[in-house]
């Protein structure tokens, strides 16, 4: 065999593949031994099959500062520049370190100019005239060497720079402070600012505000939006996924910071919430807590989350949403979640179309609102169950572990209903067609299973444990299926 043959054989794709397969297998074994903590922790979703899986860590202020400093130092040593300049480049370039290094190495001057860090040579000017010139801002005369400025050549006296920084910081501007020159957009780096600004209070304020500015501009970091919570979330990827703060327990979407909203995406939920706020008057009338029993007309107040209602007087089983017989929903198809549009709408008058649009909105809003209320009621159910378990354990009716499944069921019910609530804004803004049909089908199935689970959780003590756990499994599978198909990441 000649040498070239040898080489070819070595780089043969097939043999490469077997090589890497071997490697992967080794890795898998390694992972098996390292990752087995995951198996013990049932609550923790697994990477592979959970559409909501999201890797993040909770940082204290100091940790976040260290993280930012590390990124700044990396750029400093790579590009041999001052930390202050590196910080600015990272902030302007949204912390895309690799990208900045590449652009810097390609064309240093272009990057610095585009980032408003330095001025192209031809634009440089000397704003001073004479040997003892007057400052262009305060008009006081100083010797030439007293004046200070940035690469753009706009020179001012230290006193005016100090005043300028004072005013900018008072307005909350830090990383965005610009040179005082007319139409000059050159940014002031922090080492220059610190060399002028002597007031220690203001220096502190600057450093605090600056840190907040940097965190806000960093795609992988976000302040926890919880009240009085100061931790910072560090995500592996900047995605619209669920974060639960381990300190204040608030949950929110990492990308937009408001309440978590899968399967709806950040833009759509914002649109929906704005719409709900704008139309709050119109929607108020359906927010009533009571309805009449469709069979015996006694007034019924909804006191728990489940939509499967049973009249306490005549025992009629009905659906809270449509007031129809619960049995007619069947086991397969829950029709209540699906809005039936007038098929002839395009030919109707503007007035009819407007009425139809309002009807459609109210349909979705009513379901959204209903799930939100049910969620609150189910929070109460969870608390009731917890206290009942406590009583049982105190009376020696089994241990906490024996009863924990009840609590798990109530917690899972909340989780499923939460997702269900957020399917309605998604459906409202969906275009008609096959995909919407599939979505509504899955939504209806989830709706049916959640109501089944809700019914069983409320009657947990007379429900067989196996039966309840089976129902939990079904509901969670439905939820996962829906998210897998429709949660865009």
């Amino acid at each position: 065999m000649s040498q070239t043959d040898m080489k070819r054989q070595l780089s043969d794709p097939a043999s490469d593949a077997t090589d890497s397969e071997d490697m992967e297998e080794d890795d898998e074994y390694a992972n098996y031994y390292y990752d087995n903590t995951d198996d013990l922790d049932i609550d923790k979703p697994k990477k592979t099959d959970d559409p909501e899986y999201f890797e993040y860590t909770i940082l204290q202020t100091e940790d976040a500062e260290r993280l930012l400093n590390e990124e700044v130092e990396r750029l400093c040593s790579e590009l041999k520049m001052s930390p202050s300049l590196a910080k600015m480049l990272l902030h302007v370039g949204q912390w895309q370190g690799e990208d900045i290094i590449e652009r810097y190495q390609q064309d240093q001057r272009k990057l610095l100019t585009e980032s408003n860090v330095s001025c192209p040579k031809e634009m440089k000017e000397d704003s001073l005239v004479g040997s003892s010139p007057g400052c262009p801002v305060c008009a006081e005369c100083y010797p030439r060497d007293k004046f200070m400025g940035l690469t753009c050549g706009h020179l001012f006296c230290p006193h005016c720079w100090d005043m300028h920084f004072r005013f900018q910081i008072e307005q909350g501007i830090t990383m965005g402070i610009e040179c005082m020159g007319q139409k000059c957009k050159i940014l002031v780096p922090e080492d220059f600012l610190y060399s002028v600004l002597k007031d220690s209070k203001l220096r502190d304020r600057f450093s605090k505000l600056c840190f907040m500015d940097l965190i806000k501009g960093h795609p992988k970091l976000r302040f926890c939006p919880g009240p009085n919570c100061s931790v910072i979330i560090h995500a592996k990827e900047p995605r619209a996924k669920k974060v639960e703060c381990s300190v204040c327990k608030s949950t929110f979407c990492f990308r937009c910071g408001i309440e978590y909203h899968a399967p709806t995406d950040c833009d759509v939920i914002k649109k929906w919430l704005t719409k709900c706020a704008d139309d709050s008057e119109t929607a108020n009338y359906i927010s009533a807590h009571t309805k009449d029993c469709p069979s015996c007309h006694v007034c019924i107040e909804k006191s728990a989350g489940c939509n499967h209602m049973q009249c306490s007087k005549c025992k009629f089983d009905f659906c809270w949403m449509c007031l129809g017989d619960w049995k007619s929903h069947g086991s397969e198809y829950y029709e209540c979640s699906r809005y039936k549009e007038n098929p002839n709408i395009a030919n109707e008058s503007v007035l009819v179309q407007a009425r139809e649009a309002l009807k459609k909105y109210l349909f979705y809003f009513e379901r959204w609102e209903n799930h939100a209320k049910s969620l609150q009621l189910e929070e109460q159910t969870l608390q009731k169950i917890t206290s009942r378990i406590n009583v049982k354990v105190m009376e020696n009716e089994g241990t906490w572990i024996d009863w924990q499944y009840l609590q798990n069921a109530a917690a899972l019910l909340k989780k499923c209903r939460y997702t269900l609530q957020y399917t309605y804004p998604y459906a409202y803004y969906m275009d008609k067609g096959g995909r919407k049909q599939l979505f509504e089908y899955q939504q209806a199935q989830l709706e049916a299973e959640v109501e089944n689970l809700s019914w069983k959780v409320e009657r947990a003590e007379i429900t067989h444990r196996g039966d309840l756990e089976n129902q939990m499994d079904i509901a969670e599978k439905r939820r996962q299926t829906l998210l897998k198909d429709f949660l865009e990441v």
Binding site: P136, V137, M163, G181, Q182
Partner: protein, 167 residues
């Protein structure tokens, strides 16, 4: 008492007298250097030609770190001037630089009369006419140019356009 803002305004005034830009004039009011009265003459070759438009400029002690507030006292019809006479001009808001002085402010406003920016309208009617019906725009401007002369006759700057009838 002299403060940085007042010292700077003295210099602005001195510079305005020593090196007066064409078509604008301004001076502090009699007993308050923080309040100025100014006049801008309508620039040549614009519909504003021959108008004499009065303005007030109000400074704070934060000048020149913060811009003064400038307002037309004479009636104005311009895409970037609000009904109350205040002006939508970038250098008086977000693009302010402490190096601007009264002279620069007045000449900037003068050139705004020359080159309106209909994309950030403060007066919708004026902006629309400027874009779509230049002749009607010029007619409306001619009317306020006439009114600006009537303003001149009584010298009270504080008095806003009274109930005068055009000749």
């Amino acid at each position: 008492m002299t403060t940085p803002a007042r010292r700077r305004l003295m210099r602005d005034f001195k510079r305005l007298q020593e090196d007066p830009p064409a078509g604008v004039s301004g001076a502090p009011s009699d007993n308050n250097i923080m309040l100025w009265n100014a006049v801008i003459f309508g620039p040549h070759d614009t519909p504003f030609e021959d108008g004499t438009f009065k303005l007030t400029i109000e400074f704070t002690e934060e000048y020149p770190n913060k811009p003064p507030s400038v307002r037309f006292i004479s009636k104005m019809f311009h895409p970037n001037v609000y009904a109350d006479g205040s002006i939508c001009l970038d250098i008086l808001q977000n693009r302010w630089s402490p190096t601007y002085d009264v002279s620069a402010i007045l000449t900037s406003i003068q050139s705004l009369l020359h080159d309106p920016n209909p994309n950030s309208p403060a007066n919708n009617e004026a902006a629309q006419l400027y874009r779509e019906n230049r002749r009607e725009y010029e007619k409306k401007v001619a009317a306020i140019v006439q009114e600006s002369w009537n303003d001149d006759e009584d010298d009270d700057v504080e008095e806003e356009e009274g109930g005068k009838t055009a000749s």
